[in-house]
Symmetry: C2
Subunit: 430 residues, 2 copies
Amino acid sequence: MKKNKKINIAIVGLGNIGLNLYLHLIKNKKTIIKKNNVNFDVKYVSAKTIHKKRKIKIPKKKWLTNFIHASKLKDIDLVVELIGGADGAAKKLVFNCLKNKKHVVTANKALISKYGDQLALLAEKKKVNLEFEAAVAGGVPIIRTLKEGLIANKASKVYGILNGTSNYILSNMDKMNFKSVLEKAKKLGYAERNPKSDLNGEDVKSKIQILSSLAFNSFIIKSNINIEGINNIDEVDIKNAEILGYKIKHLGLSEIENGKLIQCVHPCLIKKESRISNINGVLNAVIVEGKPIGKFVLQGEGAGPGPTTSALVSDICSVLRGNIKFPFAVSHLNRKKITSIDLSNKMFSSYIRLDVIDKKGVLSSITKIMSKNKISVKRLIQNPLRGKKFASIVIVSHKAKNKNLVKCINELKKNNFILKNPKFIRIEEI
Amino acid sequence: MKKNKKINIAIVGLGNIGLNLYLHLIKNKKTIIKKNNVNFDVKYVSAKTIHKKRKIKIPKKKWLTNFIHASKLKDIDLVVELIGGADGAAKKLVFNCLKNKKHVVTANKALISKYGDQLALLAEKKKVNLEFEAAVAGGVPIIRTLKEGLIANKASKVYGILNGTSNYILSNMDKMNFKSVLEKAKKLGYAERNPKSDLNGEDVKSKIQILSSLAFNSFIIKSNINIEGINNIDEVDIKNAEILGYKIKHLGLSEIENGKLIQCVHPCLIKKESRISNINGVLNAVIVEGKPIGKFVLQGEGAGPGPTTSALVSDICSVLRGNIKFPFAVSHLNRKKITSIDLSNKMFSSYIRLDVIDKKGVLSSITKIMSKNKISVKRLIQNPLRGKKFASIVIVSHKAKNKNLVKCINELKKNNFILKNPKFIRIEEI
């Protein structure tokens, strides 16, 4: 409880999040000081464009003429990096801040998943904090929980719904098609103008890499990650899943199997009774399985100015309170190298939808190809499609190796009786 | 990162939890030291009976001859109190430990809810830690989350499923009656031999008091708490709720309305679509509503040696890392006095079940009494009961003041056509 200390903060990047954070810190200054018993000041800000209409006026003396000064000025103790992006300005700023013994708080998942190991080592050497609660599921304090609340546990699996945009789209596709939901999401501010990395799984990839390294005390593992987005999911798949007793969710998953790490990002079917099947809209959820705690679930809003500010302020308060912590819970020396493997040999039940020409022998050809690839049918529903000439065949397969499933789908695809690319969605037993 | 420091721990109380903790600390010593960069030793233990068959052998030199020595010996830095109970030995031990500048970690909700304010002030004065993560929902690190992860937020409401025993019973009463589920729960170790305080709401009362004071930065408020247990819920109510689109859950709730605190503990109907309606069995869930985070849910196992050990170890690690924290997040001076009010004027929809003699004029008498008390009917279902002479009337009422609802039930009770005590269960819109 250091009464006389004062921490000077610089916020670099004043978009939606940056402005919201600035406002929150100004408005709640007294409460934050009370809660942490440490004085602070938002002394500087920086943004690409200084002269831009903003909803609040920031005093001239607070403006840095160049963002990189935040890493150099002696009267700055803590820099909040909100520029974004794995490289360029953000990278330059954060590396320089740490080198110059300034604490860093960031929401930048791309940066942390790419350079987190180097940055953490640098922070450790320089005895400053590097905090990134806001990088994964803003309104869900999963990073702090993994580092502190669950510190006693040996995790075996960590997974969750980590992208609000894709979860919003999937949970509204029972009413309208992908394109229409995406348009609606954009209007409501739930999807960015260019939502590419939200829809193709890249965003979740960064998050699951960060969660893995915290859950398993390992370095960030970048190889063998199977990534699939939600672009390929059709309205009819959502409805079929419903009939079969499932929901389709887009998950990031990471687990240790026989000492090896498997990380993947994909849409999958989960049982309706699952604890996260009701997590709809822009909500996020993270599940940690471990000993001795069992199964632990955190839910909350994943993104947006409110939840992200909540995460950033919790990091800032942690720095204010003054303990120097290892960015990834343990020291560089104690972080482990874990071998990673891809999904090839992992066993999955799966949902397969084939739109076919409805002629004699088609079903027998399909089951023959499946059987050749050691895949057996658990459930099969055939429905006529657009009149009598075509049919939609939905198959729920028994468990089979991922590589066999993929091979089977590729072989099926080659047949003339298959109308368009078969749909193949894995079933996750969670 | 204090490499040369060593923290000596004494565990007082060696029941199921104490033994589990002892084992965990011994087995995972290396990992814990790595994670916190501080050395420690479980130097002493104490229990009512030393010579008792235990699943592990504890070296003789570790045994204290009298538990109170834990508060006196110079080579003890941290005492884990697992005696239990609000008064007696536990109280004596914890007060003395803090007086003698020893850190305390406890799982004792009764003690904290009764003496938490005094104990916190004492800890603050003596500059030691008093941690009690295990006192509320063991496998759910809600205390640390309220104090740190959600530090930026202004909470307006905190509530949840806080008792595993009663949740287990309620979520199994669709298959069997109260008594049979309770027997089963006892066999499975989900209910204590004397589960009184689990079933009558007393256990949840302590927990919600602790959560309130953390969520609202107030002292512990002991007055005006409406407490109801699950003893009164019948199998048929569970089934009726199901038909009406609800689940019956036993909740502890605390919220600020117009600057006043309302705390209560009761069984209630919640919509099936609610995020916590799927929390079954011995699981616990805590929901925090606040700004800027929105609605935040934590789920996990509530009790048992595993989850409780997880909570205790997270507290021990927090002490090992060495920061002195205020037990209730803010200093004594900054904790607020909040006025509390009871449920009287709060508005509730409600579920009312009346078993009646099926004769002319009964329904009209019932509706007359309701109308007199300003309660209007939203839904009414009448079913014959054991032949033609009796009927069961289930009413879902529109919102009305709690005091009017209670008065109405009391008036109904007095009528001869009412066969047994009317059932009255509030509906919580969560």
